[in-house]
């Protein structure tokens, strides 16, 4: 390892040395330079000029969006999808810190970090999606409480800070800053509750965004329960993403998780998925009716694929004990759910409004630049996660090792102002 004190001075250098010390993850055997990483770095670098071009020449120059299609891939995939993919964090954090389900503690850090990158991805994309990126902070100071978008903006910022707080013990442990660590541990449960409330709200707000377009969104997706559908499907997605990434990390890193953690997550998918299925069916049957699905149109096809591949099949699979015994099969089911929920978000944001937009004379297929940026953002999230796994105590061997009992309660609580 390079000694950073040579370049950055004594104080900074020691800090950098501590941060760059990867002995912590030696047992995981993470190699930084692999073909996959190289490809990811390449994809990430590709998206940098795209972002620059977008900022310099405007949203119209970089994307294929138009007046009939004001929202496209970046909102549909990066924002709606990215946020849904990050739902696991608040669920696991809530389970560990509030419900006191200790067995999930070993995956809590990874789930929270994963969410942090999911939200970062969404935040960067929405910043580039809005036409006046440099004033994207306006909603935070120009409150407009009627707007769901305002709620989303506020919550995105608050929740990113909450996730950063929840992740900070990893960094603080690493650099060994006891005081800071104690402070974070003191507010941890409060932060987790805050995170739970925020997540419940903005997962549903993303659906609530569409409440105002009864005339534009196809009735296959539009109904008054849309916010709650987004929430339930986000829960389903959360379980699957956590399970997916746990199995994945245990495959690529030398790291193992107890099987009953995975089974617990699978049951989570099973219950939320079953509920989601009946919820969707109820709204369909009491709303537009089954006929609309089989009406031989694009929307109907999309709805069928979304439900069959993304909900019914994985729920059916996970209901079988034989699948729940097999890590690989659970992995496959997770992928189906993740695909299904992402597909649902694209259906709501793109295919569900296609009929209206086309009638209004619009046509939309994402531009090369839109794809490049979205792919770059995914690469960014994967790389970030990998780097953190290498340099931070992401999978603690034994819980709370850096935190001897008694130190936290020794610090005096600060009186509330």
């Amino acid at each position: 390892m390079i000694d950073m004190t040579r370049f950055a001075g004594q104080k900074c250098g020691t800090l950098l040395n501590k941060l760059l010390d990867d002995s912590i993850s030696e047992h995981l055997g993470i190699k930084l330079v692999t073909p996959l990483t190289v490809v990811l770095v390449f994809l990430l670098l590709l998206s940098v000029p795209v972002a620059g071009y977008r900022l310099l020449f405007g949203i119209g120059a970089a994307s294929n969006l138009n007046d009939s299609w004001p929202w496209g891939l970046w909102i549909g995939f990066d924002v709606l999808g990215g946020v849904a993919m990050a739902a696991g964090a608040f669920m696991i954090a809530g389970a560990v810190y509030i419900l006191n389900l200790k067995k999930y503690k070993c995956i809590a850090r990874a789930a929270i970090l994963n969410a942090f990158f999911g939200y970062l991805l969404a935040a960067i994309s929405i910043t580039l999606d809005v036409g006046r990126s440099f004033v994207i902070w306006h909603p935070l100071v120009m409150w407009q409480v009627n707007s769901v978008m305002f709620i989303v903006a506020l919550h995105l910022v608050l929740y990113l800070s909450t996730l950063a707080t929840e992740s900070s013990p990893m960094v603080l442990e690493k650099i060994g800053w006891e005081r800071g660590l104690n402070a974070v541990h003191r507010i941890m449960v409060g932060a987790v509750m805050f995170g739970v409330a925020l997540s419940l709200l903005h997962q549903s707000s993303l659906g609530a965004n569409y409440l105002i377009v009864p005339g534009k969104l196809s009735p296959l997706w539009y109904n008054k329960q849309l916010p709650y559908m987004f929430l339930v499907s986000a829960l389903m997605m959360g379980f699957s993403m956590v399970s997916f990434e746990t199995i994945l990390t245990s495959k690529v890193f030398k790291h193992d998780v107890p099987h009953d953690v995975l089974v617990g997550l699978s049951k989570g998918i099973l219950y939320t998925g079953t509920f989601y299925f009946f919820f969707k069916m109820y709204e369909l049957l009491t709303g537009p009716g089954l006929a609309l699905v089989f009406d031989d149109n694009l929307e109907g096809m999309m709805w069928l694929i979304e439900m069959a591949v993304g909900v019914v099949l994985p729920v059916f699979l996970l209901a079988l004990p034989s699948v729940r015994r097999d890590k690989e099969k659970m992995f496959a089911a997770d992928i189906l759910v993740v695909f299904g929920v992402l597909f649902n978000r694209l259906n709501v944001s793109i295919f569900g409004v296609a009929r209206y937009a086309t009638r209004a004379g619009g046509d939309y297929f994402p531009s090369i630049m839109e794809f490049t940026l979205t792919i770059g953002m995914i690469a960014f999230a994967v790389l970030g996660f990998k780097l953190c796994a290498k340099y931070l105590p992401l999978f603690p061997d034994h819980q709370e090792s850096a935190h001897p009992p008694g130190t936290a309660s020794a610090a005096a609580p600060r009186a509330p102002e």
């Binding site: 007046d67 006046r132 407009q144 009627n146 449960v189 609530a208 105002i212 377009v213 534009k216 309660s409």
Partner: protein, 337 residues
């Protein structure tokens, strides 16, 4: 966790208290909810398609009059009104040929044609003109969805206007408007949303809307919304063929043109659509055929999202109270504290 339970509860209570407090600003702001009542001095336009001859004088005047400081199309540094060449080969930008509403066009006259297009204002084998622009909803979706408060409704005359300095360019207004009115300046690096603002700058000077001022036939007239509704109902109540003095430029104007009443269909557009609009339309051809969708909600749209937003403080309260209770229960058996 090594925090004692008492201390923990204190922390939760204080952070929770702070949060609920931060949610409290929502309560007084609840009155900021978009109104569903027509402003007392509300003004608007009545467009009677059966009078329109498709001369597009309103489009010309709209563009000219809104390209001056204060107008909805004004941008400093533009030497002349933003003309569109409409993809016409020889049009080198000196005449205006918009095809749709756009970031450069707030008002457009289009033609409906069917079959042999012989008779005006007839759906089959007929033709008709129609006008597209912002309808100035009584309870505008665009105002309610804007996260930065860039769209506003004038409390006196009800014109829905736009403050570019606040806009972040999220285009939620475009998605939300049931009539697809707001347009974006896609070709700009620092774009604005563009739509008719009911010539608010002219109204401030005591003038009437530019399109109504330019209309030679009285197809577009300006006036108080209540008067416009009366006028529209009066026309509808008459028998087709009856002679009627149609006012020019504004409702109740002394200058009129005597013409027979046409056959109106479909009622008055704008009485109930999206909870009512300040601009009204009459037509001889069903509005559906003119591109005004049938599935426009017949109530104010902002209430749909408000029903959701009003629940937010309760979610915070519920999570903190419920979460604390659950925390106490689940941590009962832990030795700490």
């Amino acid at each position: 966790m090594t925090v004692s339970r008492r201390k923990f509860l204190k922390i939760v209570a204080s952070s929770g208290g702070a949060l609920v407090a931060s949610g409290v600003p929502l309560a007084p702001q609840a009155q900021a909810r978009v109104s569903t009542v027509l402003p007392p001095q509300a003004t608007g336009l009545l467009y009677d398609a059966t009078l329109c001859v498709g001369c597009k004088a309103c489009m010309v005047n709209c563009k000219t009059q809104n390209s001056v400081p204060g107008g909805a199309l004004y941008k400093s540094g533009w030497p002349m009104p933003p003309y569109e060449n409409g993809d016409i080969k020889l049009n080198n930008g000196i005449w205006d040929a918009p095809r749709e509403l756009s970031g450069k066009t707030l008002n457009i006259i289009k033609v409906y044609k069917n079959g042999s297009a012989e008779v005006k204002d007839r759906a089959i084998n007929g033709y008709a003109f129609f006008k597209q622009q912002c309808l100035h909803c009584v309870s505008p979706a665009c105002v309610s969805v804007c996260p930065a408060g860039a769209f506003r409704k004038d409390p006196v005359n009800g014109a829905v206007y736009y403050l570019a300095d606040r806009c972040i360019g999220c285009r939620y207004c475009q998605l939300a408007c049931p009539f697809g009115v707001p347009r974006y300046e896609w070709d700009s690096a620092w774009p604005e949303v563009r739509k008719c603002q009911l010539c608010r700058h002219r109204q401030a000077e005591g003038k009437i809307a530019a399109c109504a001022e330019a209309c030679p036939t009285g197809a577009t007239i300006f006036g108080k919304v209540l008067d416009l509704r009366e006028e529209a109902k009066r026309r509808q109540a008459l028998r087709p063929g009856d002679e009627y003095p149609f006012p020019i430029q504004k409702v109740g104007a002394r200058e009129t043109t005597l013409r027979p009443i046409a056959h109106y269909t479909d009622g008055i557009y704008g009485l109930v659509e999206a909870g009512g609009t300040q601009n009204l339309m009459l037509s001889g051809v069903p509005f559906e055929l003119l591109g005004f969708g049938r599935n426009i909600a017949k109530y104010d749209l902002p209430r749909l999202t408000w029903a959701y937003i009003a629940k937010i403080p309760w979610v915070f309260l519920g999570v903190f109270v419920g979460g604390t209770a659950i925390y106490k229960m689940t941590h009962r058996n832990d030795k700490e504290g």
